[in-house]
Symmetry: C2
Subunit: 143 residues, 2 copies
Amino acid sequence: MGDLCDFSQLLARHGVRLTAVRLAVLDILGAAPRALRAAEILEMIRTRRQVNKVTVYRILDDFTHRGLLRRLILEGRVSHYELACEHHPPHPHFQCHLCREIQCLEPVPLIRMWTELQGPVGNRADQIDVRVKGLCHKCREIS
Amino acid sequence: MGDLCDFSQLLARHGVRLTAVRLAVLDILGAAPRALRAAEILEMIRTRRQVNKVTVYRILDDFTHRGLLRRLILEGRVSHYELACEHHPPHPHFQCHLCREIQCLEPVPLIRMWTELQGPVGNRADQIDVRVKGLCHKCREIS
DNA sequence: AATCGAAAATCAACTGAGTTGCAAGTATAA
DNA sequence: TTATACTTGCAACTCAGTTGATTTTCGATT
């Protein structure tokens, strides 16, 4: 994923200053096989360099508002983040009851039920989040 | 909704002791036109009687585990709760970007895409949450 | 290359939803 | 009516995330 995007150019295109922490955030999320929590990202950056948590939170927030990242609300209290580039369009997520791990699922064609999902006449929906829960294949093997 | 359920019998059937706070929680959620936050429920109970927040949190948690309530993760950090009786099956929710209000939508037949939503072979899904976001009809009128 | 102002990072202190452990109160079975 | 296991209340805590004030740094312009 990371190989497909030039992050310094990406930042320039969005009029965002190039800094080490910002590059690290994109780099880590670009290489991640799943959405990450802020605390995970923070810890991963800290293996490379010293950084304050406030910086990471502010960057995640800023990038989300700029549309560079997607913030996922999968469980209470913690947000997960994933890259929002064209190689990684919005898609459902699966979360295991036991190990809490998150898997990305293939996009599904919800357009078919778009009218039902609008709700009362006059609503204008612009985003649909689908979250599937259950036991993942690894946890089913164990138990 | 509340009229359709006898809450004291409901509690007895679940082997839960009948107390004023528990009845109040069910009563309030039964009469609510939408899912409520713990803090809202707490405040509504306090218009009738004195009660500690810990008690309300514990009851909400307990009832959720017993399947009496559903806990909805609609935005970060705060949970919403709704009655989980047979008159009120699982359904998608719509949340407005501006007023943050939550609307209940009609159930949609996601079974059609059940295979895609399972993810990797071996996963066993048992729950699908659909959250729609956008502008509600009231906020669109205003702006 | 040196300067400089706006943007970014840091620090400490704070917020607010939710949790924990323990003491005191109460529903209900016997 | 009584015993006791279940409930509630209280105070203090946790933890993700936020705020405001200060210092540092990027990068455009001399």
